[in-house]
Amino acid sequence: MSENLLTLTDANFDETLVGADTPVLVDFWAEWCGPCKTIAPILEQIAEERAGQITIGKLNVDDNLATQARFDVMSIPTLILFKGGEPLVRLVGAKGKGQLLEELDRHL
């Protein structure tokens, strides 16, 4: 995994998000999810190209059931953009890079 990506867990979730310098886009994903795999490289590109503007956090739902349940994530990939620890916008399902950036730019 690229060093531009944060690994989020049930244990570090709140602390990491509240302490972040930029808005954090959290990717709720799992190993067995095909569409999650197709967007993973896109998210890495965004993390690199938009460094300082947005941070990408990865939360594996298999290992972090509490956070998944807390945000009612019932479909993956789900992407939630957090600002100051508060959820701002939620994107359900895999999307192309252009469409993702368009949605994110509206909120950054």
Binding site: A30, W32, C33, G34, P35, C36, T38, I39, I42, V61, D62, Q68, D72, V73, M74, S75, I76, P77, T78, R90, V92, G93, A94, K95, G96, G98, Q99
Partner: protein
């Protein structure tokens, strides 16, 4: 920047990738506009990307996973020189030659011949609540989201092979999988129907349609109506998966390619020629009868051969 190709293939399911293998081997250096990531079947690799094991594709006696099959086909096409662009075709202009194809990533390409293999996507119920609940219990991808319904009751709407395949997959997680079907018998193949009926976790609700979905923020129940008796009922469910049929992906072609009443592209006789010379159609976008991976692949091969001969003949 505009790039020119002899052949552009739009779509990358079994039809598009087979057309890519054949045109690449004919030294036509095809460009495949493969689509963009999504969580429904309109994505690179097509409908098979959302399936698990494919048991009826010849050559795989032990079956093969749908995504693996499509990755293999892509690598096979690349081996012979096919190139891929991760984008959607947003506009196709056939009014003059070469044809021009604009894409969602800004890059446009011109082509002497175009092979349309955009396939079909799953129909949704069309209910207002369905959009709001997408990602909150309503799902387009059983293989992605079955996990979230461990120990809960779910519903699958539909009675064909796709519906039963999803129901069987979901039965690994859910307590009960309700299969809601508007008829009194299944449309699925005998082997799938027999397996489904033997699965103790599946509960069939016949002659019924979903009229509404309730729950906030997450799905709690489906409102059902029996189409025979008119009786209405409420079925508590934690998840809902829709597999009621498909609609061809023809948005960018409907202005100039002939299609039937259901929107499927028309081809001439037993060929893959469309009404526009130099534009060929293959796979599910022109087939509402067979709709199998192998028939799509077969027609992709036909399109490649039709296209190659048409180019050779100097049009």
């Amino acid at each position: 920047m505009t790039d020119h190709r002899q052949v552009v293939i739009i779509g990358s399911g079994p039809a598009g990738l087979t057309a890519a293998i054949y045109t690449a081997r004919a030294n036509l250096a095809p460009l495949v506009i493969e689509g963009e990531p999504s969580s429904d079947s309109d994505q690179p690799g097509g409908q098979l990307m959302l399936t698990t094991e494919v048991e009826n594709f010849p050559g795989f006696p032990d079956g093969i996973m749908g995504p693996e099959l499509m990755l293999n086909c892509k690598m096979q096409a690349q081996r012979f020189g096919a190139e891929f662009l991760t984008a959607k075709a947003t506009k196709v202009d056939v009014s003059s030659r070469p044809f021009t194809i604009e894409t969602s990533v800004g890059q446009s390409v011109t082509a002497d011949a175009v092979i349309v293999a955009t396939g079909a996507r799953s129909l949704m119920l069309g209910l207002e609540a369905e959009k709001r609940l997408l990602g909150y219990g309503v799902s387009t991808c059983a293989t992605c989201d079955g996990f979230f319904h461990r120990g809960f009751d779910v519903a699958v709407v539909g009675g064909g092979d796709s519906a039963l395949e999803e129901a069987m997959f979901l039965s690994k997680f859910a307590t009960t999988v309700n299969v809601i079907h508007r008829r009194s018998e299944l449309r699925a193949s005998k082997i799938m129907a027999d397996r489904a009926k033997a699965n103790p976790k599946l509960n069939f609700i016949w002659n019924s349609v979903v009229t509404d979905l309730v729950g906030d923020p997450t799905l709690e129940a489906a409102q059902l109506k029996n189409v025979e008796t008119g009786d209405e009922s409420t079925l508590p469910v934690h998840g809902l998966f829709v597999a009621i049929g498909h609609i061809p992906n023809t948005n960018v072609f409907t202005g100039f390619l002939d299609h039937d009443e259901a929107g499927y592209l028309k081809t001439i006789g037993h060929s893959t020629f469309t009404n526009v010379e130099g534009v060929f159609a293959c796979g599910d976008v022109q087939d509402h009868v067979y709709r199998q991976a192998i028939t799509a692949a077969g027609s992709g091969c036909m399109a490649a051969i039709d296209c190659e001969r048409w180019l050779e003949s100097g049009n």
